[in-house]
Symmetry: C2
Subunit: 373 residues, 2 copies
């Protein structure tokens, strides 16, 4: 409690001044002792001050502290609201790191570029000491640049997470390459030799669809290491209605559902498919059911995203869960590093495999002696 009733019935704020008066020392003595840097004081003085502070229920004023220190002790966290399934875990990760510090998170969700600018303006005039940002896709880097530089001019470092839009800014991202490699290896270990990747037609565009590109690299690497050939099914996607709620889900579902025909038309159809998202996997799974194709017996499917959806489809989908908590942790830790003047390295963290019932050893048609090369 920050205030007590004094014996003369006046309400007194419990500040260092009051502690000083009560303990019969100066405020600077109190300050030094409470800050933990008072080793050189008399033990009795130290104990007395600490005791009085405890008795009075002293709570330091972070605000005053920040004011004096010419900082805000606030960390801006700007989250892209287009895909927020993991926002809570992410922020819990951030909290877990900064809970041990004097910083608190100033959180904003932006859905559009306009939103984003407002939120950034807010961060700026709150003078955040650092910024964690997951940019709205399509944001003109040029416009962000102004803000980033302004932050830099007030010595507030920036860390970008879940994205690659800010040149020269340290990043923390999902390691899609490693994730895909993990999944592909898992399928190979189960005995699959013909493993397809279901992605969208723009996966080659490294900047625009960096994650799809990364995924394809991991997939290729794992196959190559096993002496297998890639089979990439790339459906055309229309991202123009990206802002419409639920659009992505439906579009990815369509991608999966329509891809089955392409896949079955191959001379040697694959026995397993790695999908770009859970929705794609669900679409594919649904198409299989309509075709009478057994999952996983005739076709194994792995999703990506660890969505709630994946757990409740039939069969439950083997998928990967993004390390949202870890990303938040790492991003916050790196931001703190940067605030302390050390340049943090980029980090990327693989998703974890959740093995469920949509994957199994291929049924009856193992062809170890005859890979599709």
């Amino acid at each position: 409690m920050p205030s007590i009733i004094h014996h003369n019935h006046q309400i007194l704020k419990v500040t260092r001044k009051l502690i000083a008066e009560t303990a019969q020392v100066s405020t600077s003595t109190v300050g030094m002792i409470l800050s933990g840097r008072g080793q050189h004081y008399n033990v009795k003085t130290r104990e007395r001050v600490l005791q009085v502070a405890a008795d009075l229920g002293y709570q330091p004023s972070i605000n005053a502290r920040a004011f004096r220190l010419k900082c805000s002790l606030l960390l801006g966290v700007l989250v892209n609201a287009v895909n927020t399934h993991h926002a809570a875990e992410l922020l819990r990760g951030v909290q877990s790191v900064i809970a041990a510090t004097d910083y608190s998170p100033l959180v904003f969700f932006a859905r559009s570029q306009e939103d984003q600018e407002q939120c950034l303006a807010r961060c700026l005039d709150r003078r955040v000491d650092g910024l964690l940002i997951n940019c709205v896709v399509g944001a003109a880097a040029a416009e962000l640049d102004g803000v980033i530089h302004q932050l830099a001019s007030q010595a507030a470092p920036v860390v970008e997470f879940f994205g690659h839009l800010l040149p020269g800014v340290p990043k923390v991202n999902v390691d899609n390459r490693q994730t895909a490699e993990l999944c592909t290896r898992h399928l190979i270990a189960q005995g699959h030799r013909r493993i397809a990747l279901f992605t969208h037609g723009r996966y080659e565009h490294q900047v625009l669809h960096f994650d799809a590109w990364e995924q394809s690299q991991g997939y290729r690497d794992a196959l190559q290491a096993a002496g297998l050939q890639p089979i990439i099914i790339a459906g055309d996607m229309d991202f123009s209605r990206l802002h419409e709620p639920g659009f992505l889900e439906v579009e990815f579902l369509r991608l999966g559902a329509e891809g089955l025909a392409t896949l079955l038309a191959l001379p040697q159809p694959p026995t397993a498919v790695l999908c770009y998202t859970d929705q794609t996997a669900v679409g594919l799974n649904r198409a299989c059911r309509l075709k009478g194709l057994q999952v996983p017996a005739e076709l194994s499917i792995i999703g990506n995203g660890g969505t709630a959806l994946s757990a409740i489809i039939n069969p439950p989908l083997t998928t990967t869960r993004p390390p949202a908590f870890e990303i938040g942790r790492t991003a916050a830790a790196n931001l703190l590093l940067a605030i302390r003047g050390q340049a943090p390295a980029d980090a990327s963290i693989a998703e974890t495999l959740i093995e469920r019932q949509s994957t199994a050893a291929p049924q009856g048609d193992r062809q170890p002696a005859q890979p599709a090369r």
Copy 2:
């Protein structure tokens, strides 16, 4: 930019002091004019000060302001991380209201009671000027009470949203009663006479499952107004594993899937079902497909929650979308009211109906002359 390079090559912070010196007035004059309460100053002085402030790119220090005003200009927002589908919209709603003020949101996600206590402690030592809280279910009200009182002692009001756990605290909630009434009326208007409610076995417990109880009330009211009889299918649910990720989804799905048998065993099975959640509806829908029962021709289904799932099942599910943005708006607005000393009223806001393909007029068996009474 908060600092400029002076002609003598020194870096100067742009504060009111600098503006005062540049414009040849006193800092108090600058302060009064910038705060908008400087009507009584000479017009030329006013313009000069404003001009200089603009030229220098002055940005007030919210921190210093807060310090002087003995407040933090921070609003705590504590969100239950168990069900966060709507957290982003909720927070955007909060932002939309407080963007016009000097307040900024200090956001925390809590998954457990322990989390929650830490976050609240954080809010306390940041001396938030108000708190928006969506309590973790199962939190002992007694423990929260301490915090609430502590906040009260520093004149920081509290508004609870998405919950009814804090006695005496103003609330903003989803109006489940009205939502259910809306849905039921919609079905009645389509010609349904036998409409069931799929809920769980504890819907009667007004405190524990307030929303289920509310929903049942709205459902009953709408039926009663139309002279129809309620048909309540209440499955048993085991909430003991509530904390496990994805548990609720699967459990609600089971509820729906297993309920179909009960429903079909009735002497006169309903032609429409109102479900407690989207997952329940999906489970029911799936059971229907397995039984060969046509949706919506033979059975109309309405979900609840407007989840991503609802859009991608087959047929796309008619459901209701929680007014998360509005809840955030209202909660923030009411908190601001409370901060200004006015006691806000409780608010509840109905969900909006999203009509898709799982509902239609009952096929062939309208029985206007023979309701099931």
